[in-house]
Amino acid sequence: MLKYIGRRILQMVPVFIGVTVLLFLMTAVVPGDPVKMITGEREISPAVYNQIRAEYGFDKPLIVQYGMYVNRLAHGDLGQSLMRGRPVKDMLLDKFPYTMQLALAAIIIEIIFGIGAGMISAVKRYSFADVLVTLSTSILVSLPVFWLGTLFQMFFGIYLKDWTTDAFYLPMSGAGGPGAPFPHWVYLILPAITLASVSTAYAARIMRSQLLEVMSQDYIRTATAKGLSANAVLWRHAVKNAMIPVITFIGIDFGAMMSGAILTETVFNWPGVGNEIYNAVVRRDWPVVMGGVVIIVVVVMIINLLVDISYAFFDPRIRYGGGEEA
């Protein structure tokens, strides 16, 4: 198994390098004077201009610039915000926990409802529940996440409030804070459900197809022939096998969730990294945009690596290698 983990990490290295190259190219290609990217629209003296030029190596060949870029990344330097003048890193790290909260809540929802719905629809194949799940997953997958968010806002934030005369509604903006009408976690509800929606639909679909495939395997027949009850066969034998690809999917989906987070945070004004990125795009504050991209990409890569490695734990065939053929 250590070999497997080692191999995975090794495979990550060229990818990681490639990612940094791509990130660098993206920053280098941003139109406009690169010095202005750093200093913004402020007037600066030629001396400062040249100093910055030298410091960042804009006169040097791309390769050298790339090296300096990687060096800066390694030291956690993501540049300065054009508008705020603060280091990008600080700005974003402040917001990072909010995004993580949102992602975590969404993943929990995804696991419970996605896997649950997938199981129900596989076990009761062709029943009403199955048809319902299949249709709703198809619809959810086709739904623009931001539209769903605004619909929720409209319904839970405005209409529900109207109909129950302010007695019962959900907040539709922001994350609460001191003096807010609701505790912090209530503000998480709508955004988390919105963010989770598409992923949950995918998870349900995958769980359903995996479970159906597992149920048709020979070892399920063996288990039934041993006298196990239908429940025992399902939970102890089928689910354990079906879960493996589903868990991997959830891990991989984390990346997509980060994308979705940008849209969701924007709609609900949730103070996370995604919201910052959006605001930065509007303000043309490129360092913040790229900084946000870097953070998200790094987090996604780490999570993907962890998921890959955890695969080894779940699947004994990898954990214990040494398979023999007949």
Partner: protein, 321 residues
């Protein structure tokens, strides 16, 4: 003739060329083209899937409506783009009614008209961007799949690098760099889609390559190109068709997201994503404004998803191998 003389060489070359041509012809004669029967068979099965047929019908309706929009929309519903300053205050934010089935927006424009015109752009992005992805993906996937070795590793590692970026985030970053505007949207979405296609195609190639009939073809002397086009392509094409169809839906959603964030096509040209954004201000006063573009996106993407599902089931038997 002396051995190794130029004439001898020529003679050899001619003989080899003849032999290859003969092998190719003989081989052609032996093998019937697989594609015709495959597609015909699949079409039969697809026809039975009612959801997929409904999806196809809906897509056709939308495409026709979008293409022909200039012929009938402005005449009946007014110009979707320019603002008629005279009727502005009178016409703005009208609820759905006979003259304006979807109501009017805050600048007095008929929403139905704008939705139809929005369809043009969304469908165009969906189809063209996906086409770009497919072309790039097929070429790279074919190179990697057929030649294997270093070429393959290089291409796959590059694909991995792309995969490390969350899709929509990448699109946002790309458009942020390239600048807003519809060509950049095409490029951004198109360029992002190739890794998945390449991967699917490549694994298809690998599994087909190892099949006996490819070995048999080689044994009969068929050339590389012939094997590629006659055998590997038709059998590997099925997953691409399915994945491509689903990708169209994905491309439309991504474009909508970009427009929503203000990075796609710029106003006043109508685009569904932007319309949703603009309508949030009027959530309480004109809630219907938000619904129509959303439904438009939903139904369009859903149609492609259902079609993709249907295609997958129809082509399944071949794909299972």
């Amino acid at each position: 003739m002396k051995k190794d003389s130029p004439q001898m060489q020529q003679e050899q070359d001619r003989k080899t060329a003849e032999a290859t041509a003969a092998a190719d012809t003989a081989y052609d004669a032996l093998s019937a083209s697989p594609s015709r029967t495959l597609l015909g068979d699949a079409w039969h099965r697809l026809r039975k899937n009612r959801l997929a047929i409904a999806a196809i019908i809906w897509i056709i309706i939308m495409v026709i409506a979008a293409i022909s929009a200039d012929l009938w929309v402005p005449q009946r519903f007014g110009d979707p783009i320019t603002i008629n300053t005279q009727t502005l205050t009178v016409d703005r934010l009208l609820p759905p009614q006979l003259a304006h089935p979807f109501g009017t927006d805050d600048l007095g424009r008929d929403v139905f008209a704008r939705v139809v015109y929005g369809a043009r752009f969304s469908l165009a992005v969906g189809l063209i961007a996906t086409a770009i992805s497919i072309v790039i993906g097929l070429v790279l996937g074919a190179l990697g799949g057929y030649y294997g070795g270093f070429t393959d590793t290089l291409i796959m590692r590059t694909a991995d690098v792309f995969f490390a970026f969350p899709y929509t985030l990448f699109a946002i970053a790309l458009v942020a760099i390239l600048g807003p505007g519809f060509i950049n949207v095409f490029i951004a979405i198109g360029v992002l889609g190739w890794p998945s296609i390449a991967r699917v195609f490549r694994s298809s190639i690998f599994s087909v390559k190892s099949q006996d009939y490819v070995q048999a073809a080689r044994a009969l002397g068929a050339s590389d190109v012939r094997i590629m086009s006659r055998h590997i392509m038709p059998n590997s094409v099925a997953p691409i068709i399915v994945y491509g169809t689903m990708s169209i839906g994905g491309a439309i959603l991504t474009e909508a997201a970009l427009s929503f964030l203000g990075m796609g096509i710029q106003p006043p040209t109508p685009s569904w994503g932007y319309m949703i954004n603009a309508s949030t201000k009027f959530m309480t006063t004109a809630p219907w404004l938000m619904l129509w573009p959303g439904f438009a996106i939903l139904t369009t993407v859903l149609a492609f998803v259902l079609l993709g599902d249907g295609l997958r089931d129809a082509l399944d038997v071949k794909m299972k191998d």
